[in-house]
Symmetry: C2
Subunit: 332 residues, 2 copies
DNA sequence: CTGAAAGCGCTAACAT
DNA sequence: ATGTTAGCGCTTTCAG
């Protein structure tokens, strides 16, 4: 592998000059530049980013800790983040935290050891006390994505509360009184906020929450399926269901279908999180759609700003969620 | 940020000793080890992987060039690869090639510049002549994933031909004579192989291919939708359709649905690629499911072997594809 | 406009 | 069993 020194020798200049033509970091005579460029061309030289990082103190690398690459929502998020980052000349290192503090800590440690210039994390439950402080302790710029946490860092997520409230209100408007809710993973802000939205809708209409109607799907499709099946098999089943994220929706649909119940005939359904193919499900899903592209792009934007040294007060951005009215609610 | 030197000074030893206790790379007195460990604990020292990489010549990093993070199939693949890699102590750098040689080249250049220890790529069309030689030229271990290419490198993908043939044969068994086929992106091996499977099924039954029935969906949902709509609006439309990948399937379903046709009543459908929620679509999809987990894990395994210096002849592994018989074919 | 030299933080001979 | 010393390949003062 040719090094900068090789190129310099061939071009008959010093390594420092080669470095400067490569980075445009100081004026060099047109003619010498040409010689250097010729030497680079001739040798097929490719600058060593590792050495550059060590000498320069910046790795041009950003770490992302995410919880479930298999979930299409997170896939879209990674995609959006990767694009924005690569546009800005950074590369993305991804780690999967499985939404668990222990693996999250491992991921973050590895990222920090690699001296990423910045970090984007979708914090697992309990992250505030374990891994987040570790990051801020190193001074590495950090932005939280998808979920919030009680720390001084930029955070960007979808608007959860109002969107979830609209979902439940829609059901209420249709006359439903007993509404089951399938919650996601406990301890993360999105779950809490969406549930609060549900609650707000209920109390807004003077309806008291019935604990029997709140299910913990734990953001796991199988768990959700089991829980929903149990609830819907009971004698006193609800007339409508609200699912709080896409994994919950899949589980819910499977459960309802396996019971031979029809949607919205036997039970109405509204969902937080949309799919590209939501209208191919039977029935078409009425859903609140997060704007992943904007969420990802915004997170990167905030991060880049921090990396440039901006030390304004942390921002908490909520990206609007769109309501897609289709058939599963029963009024398509 | 504390360095190894700092730790050494505090522990009253040399940097080299610290390095050795950290890496277990030579025997050190139990007592000195303890002192070093105490110093590490005290300072919160975290070893600098960048410096380590420069000095050691290995970055413990693997690059992945993939074509569409938004596609759940690739999301699953990235997930599988990430897990296998992290189990082996490597981190994953991902780049999205958008299935286009130009961006692929950009991704690969960036990865090579970062001196990844190995590389996994889902080659875009035309990659053999552009970016793949560049990789092998550097001596970086390489394994191709999802698609093959005519170069001397390990490659792992799903079994395409036989699986696709079975799909078409199933339709043939049901009496269909005019079968439309929606192909994916041209120029990549998976598209070619799957189409060959279709062809083999046809010729096996003495049926000649009708060019009007082959559609190029270009692995793009919208294109597929448009093409399918055109074909199905014609007077002489086929009685069955085979979709060659999941993006094509979405487009096909949208098209058929928008025409008010029913599946399998008006047209039967079988698909290459499965979804976790395939049986939630209307109708449930009869599909050939790739085993992403095995594909990803196998690719990593082959890569690690190469990185260890194995120079056996390149392998080409095809992971079996499972046939999921559901309703869209018309015989559920 | 360009070169020399120090140094980024670590590893790995080579000594002792 | 541990320390010394050279680098790894680049960036960046500091000189000229």
């Amino acid at each position: 592998m040719t090094t900068m020194g090789d190129v310099a020798r061939i071009a008959g200049v010093s390594a420092s000059t080669v470095s400067h033509v490569l980075n445009g970091t100081r004026k060099v005579n047109a003619e010498t530049r040409l010689r250097v460029e010729a030497a680079i061309e001739e040798t097929g030289y490719r600058s060593n980013v590792v050495a550059r990082a060590l000498a320069g103190g910046r790795t041009h690398t950003v770490g992302l800790s995410i919880s479930a690459l298999t979930n299409p929502y997170f896939g879209g998020l990674v995609h959006a983040v990767e694009r924005a980052l690569s546009d800005a000349g950074y590369v993305l290192i991804v780690g999967d935290s499985h939404d668990e503090v222990d693996s999250e800590k491992r991921v973050v440690d590895s990222l920090l050891g690699r001296r990423v210039d910045g970090m984007i994390v979708a914090p697992a439950a309990g992250s505030e006390r374990a891994t987040l402080p570790e990051i801020t302790g190193t001074g590495t710029p950090l932005v939280l994505i998808d979920r919030g946490a009680d720390i001084a860092a930029d955070q960007v997520s979808a608007e959860n509360l109002d969107a979830a409230r609209s979902l439940t209100e829609h059901l209420l408007d249709l006359g439903h009184q007993r509404i089951g809710v399938v919650r996601g993973k406990p301890g993360i802000s999105s779950t809490t906020e969406r549930f609060d939205g549900h609650l707000a809708a209920l109390t807004g209409r003077g309806i008291e929450l019935d604990d029997d109607l709140v299910l913990d799907g734990d953001s796991n499709t199988d768990t959700a399926e089991r829980e929903v099946r149990a609830l819907m098999s009971s004698t006193d089943r609800p007339s409508a269901l609200v699912s709080m994220n896409n994994a919950m929706t899949i589980g819910t649909l499977k459960a309802v279908r396996s019971l031979g119940l029809s949607i919205p005939g036997d039970v109405a359904l509204v969902c937080y999180d949309d799919f590209e193919w939501s209208d191919l499900f039977e029935p078409k899903l009425t859903a609140a759609a997060q704007d992943v592209d904007t969420i990802g792009a915004t997170a990167v934007e905030l991060l880049l700003r921090r990396m440039r040294g901006d030390d304004a007060a942390p921002q908490r951005i909520q990206v609007p969620t769109a309501f897609h009215h289709r058939n599963s609610c029963g009024c398509g």
